[in-house]
Structure formats: structure tokens, C-alpha cells
């Protein structure tokens, strides 16, 4: 078997971040992040807020609308990935994958960037910033909220 880790410092150009393919549920979410906004769904009936996007409220099955979120949250849990053979991720090692609880309630997975992995803690305050990953989609990354 080829040891692909031996190719980690190869000469190939950096591989871009993967881009989601928007669908009927997610298009608005990815488009908002593309425009630098974090949005969550709010139930027009019971006001429950949720992510990921669905066609209805998870609590009462009522209709949902999009509302803008503050982009602030706290780290619920995190890990430092030190082994991943897939590009582009292996080029980033070590990097932080985290679950962030947004101020509005929903929890999202993300990368914590803008600090050393060792600086990340559970409960740390973080804020979103955005990266366009295609013509129709952006993603929310988080960094320490100082």
C-alpha cells in the first residue's frame, strides 16, 4: 500500500475547501454565508430556532422562516485532528474541529481558526466569519471572540 502521508509536502497546488451543493432546504443557508451572514431557522408558530435547515420545525412541525444570527457562540466540544489522509484537510494538520452552540440556540460543526489549537477550550466564546467556497455557497468559520 502506498503511504500517502509521504506525499503531504508534495508540489501539487493547494486543494480548495470542499463546497456544499445547495438543495431546496439548504440554499438560503449557504447563500447567506456566501454574503457574510449567519442565519438560523425560526418557527413562525412556536419560535423554536434550529439548524441544520429543514422544511419544518423540529419541535411543533410548524412552518419556519430565516432570521439573522449574531454570529456569536461558545464551544460545546472540540478535537484537534492530527491524522486525515484526505486533501485538503491533511495539509492543515493539526487543525481544530468544534461544535459551537450559537447564542440563538442551534449547534453547528465548524473549524476554529485564528488561534493555536492548544488555545481552544470547551466554553470558549467564539465569533463567526465567512468564507465563500463556491459561487452559491459560503461557510461560517469561528475564531476566539476577544
Amino acid at each position: 500500500m502506498t503511504d500517502r502521508s509521504a506525499l503531504a509536502d508534495d508540489e501539487r497546488p493547494p486543494k480548495p475547501r470542499p463546497a456544499p451543493v445547495p438543495d431546496a432546504d439548504s440554499a438560503e443557508y449557504w447563500a447567506a454565508a456566501h454574503d457574510g451572514r449567519l442565519v438560523v431557522q425560526r418557527c413562525t408558530n412556536c419560535h423554536h430556532r434550529q439548524l441544520y435547515p429543514r422544511d419544518r420545525c423540529l419541535v411543533c412541525r410548524g412552518p419556519v422562516e430565516w432570521v439573522e444570527a449574531s454570529g456569536r457562540g461558545t464551544v460545546y466540544s472540540y478535537t484537534v485532528i492530527r491524522q486525515n489522509y484526505s486533501r485538503p484537510f491533511r495539509d492543515w494538520i493539526p487543525y481544530v474541529v468544534a461544535l459551537v452552540d450559537l447564542e440563538e440556540g442551534p449547534r453547528v460543526m465548524t473549524n476554529i481558526v485564528g488561534c493555536e489549537p492548544e488555545a481552544v477550550t470547551v466554553g470558549m466564546a467564539v465569533k463567526a466569519h465567512f468564507e465563500a467556497v463556491s459561487d452559491t455557497a459560503g461557510i461560517a468559520l469561528f475564531s476566539p471572540d476577544e
Binding site: M1, R4, R17, P18, P20, V21, D25, S26, L51, Y52, Y76, S77, Y78, T79, V80, I81, R82, Q83, N84, Y85, S86, P88, F89, W92, Y95, V97, L99, R107, V108, M109, T110, N111, P117, V122, G123, V133, I139
Partner: protein, 389 residues
């Protein structure tokens, strides 16, 4: 169905295939080897089999295994809940034989994951950046399979003060059991220090907090007590079973990273079996990672939530300990071919039949096999007993 005495589901035969490295066998040949041996153990032949339950990584899987084995069953089940699938398949098979829908169900598992895909699958892959449907939400960040379990481990440490050394205790105990299993993939003794000084794969999980990656298979025969009366092995009774799910592939959709589906399936299965956790003599608990076992002993009620770390340390899971667990060495040391659930059932049955030699739990009468699938996504609890309920 004719009226008559209640049909009781039993396991009449079990077997493992050769493992952990089978470069000379196809995936289906591993099924066949395990099936041959389980049928021989039960004193049956393929001609006696009228039901087949198995699952793998593509649709119509059971149909393909039936074709390969030359079976034309009247009962097929390929429910896939990941690593817990085989506990679910046995639960379903037990219902089906008790209902009179089928008489002899062959449950098989086979995998040549190690030979086909190599070690990369478990500790390196899983972060490819593409996933169908809603799974995309957690797929964009380079998280890995190990990383998902690491998120749960980190949260458990935060909430309850669980330490890396306590997690390591699980791996140390499994390795002690594996020393008595000549087939086990890893048999050299390890210490807590060895585990916590092995390289970090995804903090806080080290290499030795992760299961091995193996080839292998296993099988069992589910039939009725009445049929088993004429067969060579003492029947093992399916006393109760239940399964549950909290989420699919997105850890962000798991309501609490420290409460697994076992918290739902366990109490239901125990109630159906008419037992409490205190009645369990020996446990076979899915050990994909050390944290998986800590969460499972808590959620099944063997200790209080948050006390799993102290429950498993200092030999708590070893023979003579608080809960003898994974007496074959588990997925952490013996064999982990992708969906290990079938092995849990085989070892539980062997314990109840008193066949485990150096790792036999004296007078074991009630065993639990609990499978965990996906990213802590599914749990299935099977309560097995030596005596009729």
C-alpha cells in the same frame, strides 16, 4: 399459525470465522466460513435454514449473500444500524421465530476491510468533504471518524472530569483479555502509560484508544426452544432486546454528546427481559473507542452518569472486576472488521455456555451484548440468558 405452546427464541449455534487477516478470502467467503461453523455448532445444515439476516455496505446485501450461499429463504432482513446491526437483526429474528414466520434464521457477518482498504479507513479517512443529504453539514470541516468520538470524549472530560488515564484503562483491560485469545490481533500487554503516550489521532483520543482494523466474520443461528431441544448445544435464550437512535452522521444533531442511544435501548431491553443491570454477569459492549465503553456502561445503568471513568479504571471491566466485559479482547485488541456487533453476540453465548476457558466468568447466567453504530448514532441492547425466562 397453529395454537400451541409459546415459541421461545433461542440461539442454538455460534461461530467466528478465522480472523484478523484474511487476504485469501473474499467478503462473501468470510460469511460462508462463519455460516458453516455456526451451523455445525448448532448441529444443522444449510438445508435447515429458512431465514437469513445479514447486512453490509450496499443495498440488497442480504439478497446477495443468499445468492452466494445458495439459499432461498422465506425470511430476509438487512436492517443496517451500523455496528449495532447484528443485535437488531437478532432482535428481529427472535420476534420472527416467536411469531412463527420462520424456524431457523442464519445471521451472518463478513468483512475483509483490512485486506481491501487497509488501516487508513479507521484512523485516517472519514474527512472527505462530500456527503449525501444533510450529512454534508458536518462533512465540510475535515472531521474524521475518530474525531467524532473525540468530540464526545472531550465533552465527557469537561462535564465529569474523566481523565485520559481512565479511558486508557479500557484499552488495558481489553488487551489483558486478548492475551488469552490466540486469534486476537493484538496480544502484547499494554499499560495506561503506553496508551496515553501513544500518538494522538484526534485529541483527546490516542492511537491505543482506537479499535484495531481487521478482516473477519461471525454468525449465529436463531431458532425456537422446541427445535433446539434436539440439537447438541445448550440453547441460549433471547430474554429481551431493544434499539434506539439519536442522530445519523451529524454530531451537531446529537442532542447530548454524553448521552448515547444506549440510555434509551438499555432500560427497555432490561424491562423486557425482566432484569436490572445488577443481574448482568458478563457484558459484551461495543468498543470502537475507549470512550464508547465509558458512555455505554453509564447509559446502560451499570453506574451513574459521569462515573464511567472510575467504573472502568483499575480493572473494573476485567474478570473479577465490577463488570467483566469483552472477554475475547474486544474491538480494541481482538478484532474489529467495521461492524463488530456479531462478535459481541458470539462471545456472550460462549460465556453463557461456559466455553471461555481462562476468561470464563464463573456461573455466568445473564449476558448483555450492546452494539453501537455510526457516530454513537444507534444503540442496540440484547439480553441473553442461560435459563428459560
Amino acid at each position: 399459525m397453529s395454537a400451541g405452546p409459546r415459541r421461545r427464541a433461542v440461539i442454538a449455534g455460534v461461530a467466528t470465522s478465522d480472523y484478523p487477516h484474511l487476504p485469501h478470502l473474499s467478503e462473501h467467503a468470510v460469511h460462508a466460513q462463519a455460516a458453516d461453523r455456526a451451523l455445525a455448532d448448532a448441529g444443522l445444515t444449510f438445508a435447515d435454514v429458512d431465514g437469513l439476516a445479514t447486512t453490509g455496505f450496499f443495498p440488497m446485501y442480504a439478497t446477495g449473500v443468499a445468492e452466494y450461499l445458495g439459499l432461498h429463504p422465506i425470511y430476509l432482513d438487512e436492517t443496517n444500524t451500523g455496528g449495532s446491526s447484528f443485535e437488531v437483526l437478532v432482535e428481529h429474528a427472535a420476534h420472527a421465530v416467536e411469531a412463527g414466520a420462520v424456524d431457523v434464521v442464519l445471521v451472518t457477518y463478513g468483512s475483509v476491510q483490512l485486506s481491501q482498504m487497509g488501516r487508513r479507513l479507521g484512523t485516517g479517512g472519514g474527512g472527505g468533504g462530500f456527503a449525501p443529504g444533510p450529512a454534508i453539514y458536518d462533512a465540510l470541516w475535515g472531521n474524521t471518524l475518530v474525531g467524532n468520538y473525540a468530540l464526545a470524549a472531550r465533552r465527557h472530560m469537561h462535564e465529569f472530569g474523566t481523565t485520559p488515564e481512565q479511558l486508557a484503562g479500557v484499552a488495558v483491560s481489553m488487551r489483558r483479555h486478548a492475551a488469552h485469545n490466540p486469534q486476537a490481533q493484538e496480544r502484547e500487554p499494554i499499560t495506561v502509560e503506553d496508551v496515553v503516550s501513544s500518538r494522538l489521532v484526534a485529541d483527546p483520543l490516542h492511537k491505543l484508544d482506537c479499535c484495531v482494523i481487521s478482516d473477519g466474520g461471525a454468525a449465529c443461528i436463531v431458532t425456537t426452544e422446541e427445535r433446539a431441544a434436539d440439537l447438541p448445544r445448550a440453547p441460549v435464550y433471547v430474554l429481551g432486546a431493544a434499539h434506539a437512535t439519536t442522530h445519523h452522521m451529524n454530531m451537531s444533531a446529537m442532542p447530548s454528546l454524553t448521552r448515547t442511544p444506549a440510555a434509551q435501548s438499555g432500560p427497555v431491553a432490561f424491562a423486557r427481559a425482566g432484569i436490572t443491570p445488577q443481574d448482568v454477569d458478563v457484558a459484551q459492549l461495543y468498543d470502537s473507542f475507549t470512550i464508547t465503553v465509558v458512555l455505554t456502561v453509564e447509559d446502560l445503568g451499570f453506574c451513574a452518569k459521569g462515573e464511567g471513568g472510575s467504573f472502568v479504571e483499575n480493572g473494573g471491566l476485567e474478570l473479577g472486576g465490577r463488570l467483566p466485559t469483552n472477554t475475547d479482547g474486544g474491538g480494541l485488541s481482538a478484532c474489529h472488521p467495521g461492524m463488530r456487533g456479531m462478535f459481541l453476540i458470539v462471545e456472550a453465548v460462549r460465556q453463557l455456555r461456559g466455553e471461555c476457558g481462562a476468561t470464563q466468568v464463573p456461573a455466568a447466567a445473564i449476558a448483555v451484548a450492546h452494539g453501537t453504530g455510526g457516530m454513537l448514532s444507534t444503540g442496540a441492547t440484547l439480553v441473553l440468558g442461560k435459563e428459560a425466562p
